[in-house]
Each structure stands twice: as C-alpha cells, then as structure tokens.
Symmetry: C2
Subunit: 306 residues, 2 copies
C-alpha cells in the first residue's frame, strides 16, 4: 500500500517554548511531501528529524498569524542556497506573496527556482490541488483573521485482480483494464461474474483533515465527515472556554466534540498553549468525548492505515 | 567591575545546519542587553540558554541577508504576546521597518509596546547609541548589500579614591567629586598631589567590535584599532579565497590579518560555512597569523576583562 504518513514538526501555539515549536506538519502521501504550515524554525526541525526538505513541492499555509508562517522565508532561502531548481507551489493567503517578495527584494536574492503562488479564495471545499494520487480541498475555518484548513484525500486506486482469477476465467488484457475500472466479466458460457468477485483490493481512499486555527464551528462537520484522521487545534482546556472564544481558538473538549459529530476515525490534537507543560489533561479531557484521540508530539509520526 | 559579556546564539552562515544556527549574539554591558543580529530561531536559542529576552531594549541588525534577521519578526511577536510594554529600539537598514510593518499589518497585530527604528545611514563611525555607560558606533563593512558592523565602547568610569587617601589628606566631599572627574588636590600646606596619586582605579574602557558580513577590507582597521575583543566573520578557509571574494566574505586567515593589523587584544571568528563540520582547521589557520584567536560556539560566553 502507498504511504500515508503525517509527521509533526511543531505543536505549540503562538510562541515557541523551550520544549515546543510553532505549527508545522509534513504529510507524505504516495511520496508526495506536503508541508502544512511553517512556523519559525521549521527548516531546523526538518533537519533535526532528517526529513529532506527539497522533496517538498507543495506548501500549504492556513493563515497569516506568525506562528504558522514565520519559518517560510528561511526555508525558501535555504532551498535556494542549496541549489533547488524545481518549481515550488505555495497555497496561501494572497498577502503572503507580497511579504515574501519584499524580503527577497531587499536581500537582492534572485531565486534559482520558481515559486507558483495559489491564493486562497477562502471558500469551503475549494479544490486547490489535484494529481493522479491526491486531491486537496479547503476547509473554511473561523478565526480572528481569514483562515482555512485543508482536506487531503487519496484518489481511489485501481483494483487488483489475482493471477489465479485471471487464469481461471482466462481474462484478456483488454478486459483486465475494464475490470480494474469496475466492470463485471462475462465468461465464454455467458455467466456474469460481478466485479467484487474478481478484484482483491478495493480499499476506501484515506483522508486527513487539518483544522487549525479555529473556534468551535459545526459548519466544518459536513466537509470532514468520516475522515480517517482529523487534526483539530486544542489550544486550551475547557475551563478556559471564555479565553478560547475571545481568541477564536478551541478547547480539547470542543475538538473532541467536532470529531464525535463528524464521526471521524481518529482525532489528533495540538496547538497547545504554552501554559500546558503536561499535556495529559488535554488528552484526558478530549477522550471523555472522543476515545480515539491522540496527542501530536514533535518528531513523531502517525501512519494512516486502511 | 561592571559586566561586559558576550554570548553566542548562532554561529552559522547562510543556512542553519543540524548543529548550528544563523547569526545572533547577546552582549551585556553593565546590565544593558544588546541583541546583535537575529537569525531564524534566535528567540528559541535565547530560551534554550535561559536568557530573558524582555531585558533586551536595543537590537542591532547589520544587514538584510536573511541569516541575520529572519528571527526578528518572531522575537518581536513573542515580546508582544508575553506582555511587553517597554519601548524597543531597533538599529537597522531602513527597509527592515517596511518588512516588519507589513507582517504585523497582515496578521492584524497591534503591538502593546513601541518600536523606535533608527535607520542606518551606512557611514563609518556614526554614533548610533549612547547612554551613561555605553556608546555604539557603526563600522562600515564591505558586503554584497549595504552592511555595517558595530563598535560597543564602555564609557570611562569615574575613578575611585581609597578611604585611607581621603583620611590622609582630609579631602572634603566637594573635592572628592572633582578628583573623581580628574582634578588634582592641593593640601593645606600648598602641596599639589597629582590626580593619578589619588585615584585607585582608572582602567581603560573596554570595547567590542562586531564585523559581519564583510570581505577583507583594511579600511575598517582605523575604527577598530586596539579593541579588547574583535568578532570578524571567517566564513571560509583560505583555500576558498576566490569563493570568499565572490560572495563578499572573509577567510579565517583574512580575519586574523585584520586582527593583527588592528592590534586588537582578542579575535573571535564565526559565521562558519555549513561545509565545515570540524572548526579546528579554521582556528588553526587564524592562529598562524594571530595567536589570541578563539572560535565562537553557540551557548558559550566570553567575558571581557580589563
């Protein structure tokens, strides 16, 4: 099965702490490396965990609070200094292009590679990336400034047909292609063999929804329904609900409530306030509502299996 | 004696490596904390070495190559988020103000403290900071884009008069003040006691010259002559002299030659190219010309004594 693995590079909110970095995640789907947000020192985290950053061809920035993008200019500079020539796509709020351009202008840096900007329109379920293996759609979040999350969905894989099935029914190559795309098979005696009796693997495409930063907002549920993996920010414990509301953030309880209502398979929480040295209480709180919750931890990965 | 201590936060050139961060230094002179350059992750380094960053009231940025300032926006943001209200002075190329303003604008951040920008005029020996204890002057460097170093000089301290001297000559309080400022003393019998026979401590004010980034340029020598401590970049070994010239950087040998010609007391080198895992050869090369050379090492400090 192709890879579907998420690695956490930074799990802190707002300010880095002595033990946590601001938000960044690296998602590998079928050897496409997607960088999701890029807080300060993301390039240093990538080096620390021995993740080759020149393999990243697509960077998704949710919004323009610094803890989600201050590391981008440094990463782009290093890509240039280390000889990158391959195009790089950045999906981001429009103003980010101006911020990056201004800094390269004043350092008189002329990139050896091309950056292709894809400006967020800030609408829900907007298809912003698509290739043969993956598509990415926006999730409209509710934050103090325009912000969107991202839904990564595998493309359905063509089914496999076991060698003995091909032999048994004497299926031609031409017919194999049709069956892989969903067709039934008619034998020489006229018997119809339904597609699901012929193919061996027809697993449901995996999906990952990234939701940070946002206040509790049930409008996202319809777009993340049933995903395999949901990352939902949990900046605070629920005893700080009023602070969460005031800052357009969520509590661990609220993140779990969204996961429960959206019937996702697994919830990961993160974007922890610096006040929480021990994260266990956040996890405990979330698990009172949604059992299959885990904490995001820097340097650790989650493999999404099917 | 008052403090005069320099701490290294980042000693790498261009790109961070897995073991080194881009340039930043913290200089403490008499409990004034001066931040000199601010590469990416400087705020993280400050936390790592338990240096309280809210005590920094003056930040000096040499030039607008990213490895010298990409960490500034994150540090300024964290100062804000952690409740700073005290004014902050930034001495920098004019364009930096635009870069910082643009980012705060798009994140809709309204600082609770005031930033006072002091734009470099890029002239030599320009007095850019002065208080009762310290003055700071520019050193005009020769780099690919406008760049200046900084010369930090202690103000002369008022001399001390030993208690037995005061008793012996029966010196009044009024006369003590005059003697501390350099006056001689006339005894009741008319004898003139010269000032240097009265005062006990008249040490030479200490000085630190920061020179990064620059190609080899002897024009700086007259401005750094005899300083106690010189930091001079040494990006390359001398076998890469042509690469050094091309990129407007210096070799370890060149840094040492400047130190020798300027008759400084001690030389520190840094801004090492990522290609040098082991720094000993850079030190060895510098010491062939200037014996009292040391390597800058992240997290370590140098105390300038008199």
């Amino acid at each position: 099965m192709q890879n579907f693995e998420l690695t956490f590079l930074g799990c802190s909110s707002a300010t880095p702490t002595s033990i946590r970095n601001p938000t960044a995640q690296l998602l590998n789907i079928a050897e496409r490396f997607f960088l999701i947000d890029c807080g300060e020192a993301t390039q240093i985290q990538l080096r620390k965990y021995k993740l080759k950053f020149q393999r990243i061809n697509n960077i998704f920035i949710s919004h323009l609070h610094g803890d989600h993008y201050f590391g981008l200019i440094g990463l782009l500079s290093s890509m240039h200094l280390l000889g990158r020539t391959l195009d790089l796509n950045i999906y981001c709020p429009p103003e980010l292009e101006e911020i990056i351009d201004l800094q390269f202008k004043h350092s008189q840096t002329y990139l050896k590679y091309k950056i292709i900007y894809h400006h967020h329109k800030f609408i829900a379920n907007d298809l912003i990336f698509e290739d043969s293996k993956v598509e990415v759609r926006t999730i409209l979040l509710n934050h103090r400034i325009p912000c969107c999350g991202f839904l990564f969905i595998e493309k359905p894989l063509l089914a496999n047909i076991a060698a003995e099935t091909i032999k048994k029914y004497q299926i031609s190559i031409e017919q194999i292609v049709k069956i892989k795309s969903g067709a039934d098979f008619i034998t020489q005696t006229g018997e119809i063999i339904p597609n699901n009796k012929l193919v061996t693997t027809q697993y449901k495409p995996r999906s990952y929804a990234y939701c940070s930063d946002t206040c509790y907002d049930e409008r996202i549920i319809e777009f993340i329904k049933g995903v395999d993996l949901l990352y939902h920010e949990a900046t605070f414990m629920n005893d700080m609900l009023s602070r969460a509301k005031e800052t357009y953030h969520s509590t661990a309880l609220q993140a779990a409530t969204i996961a429960e209502k959206a019937a996702v398979n697994k919830l990961i929480i993160g974007h922890y306030s610096a006040r929480y040295k021990d994260l266990q209480p956040l996890l405990d709180e979330a698990q009172t509502v949604f059992k299959n919750t885990v904490l995001s931890v820097e340097g650790e990965s989650i493999v999404v299996s099917n």
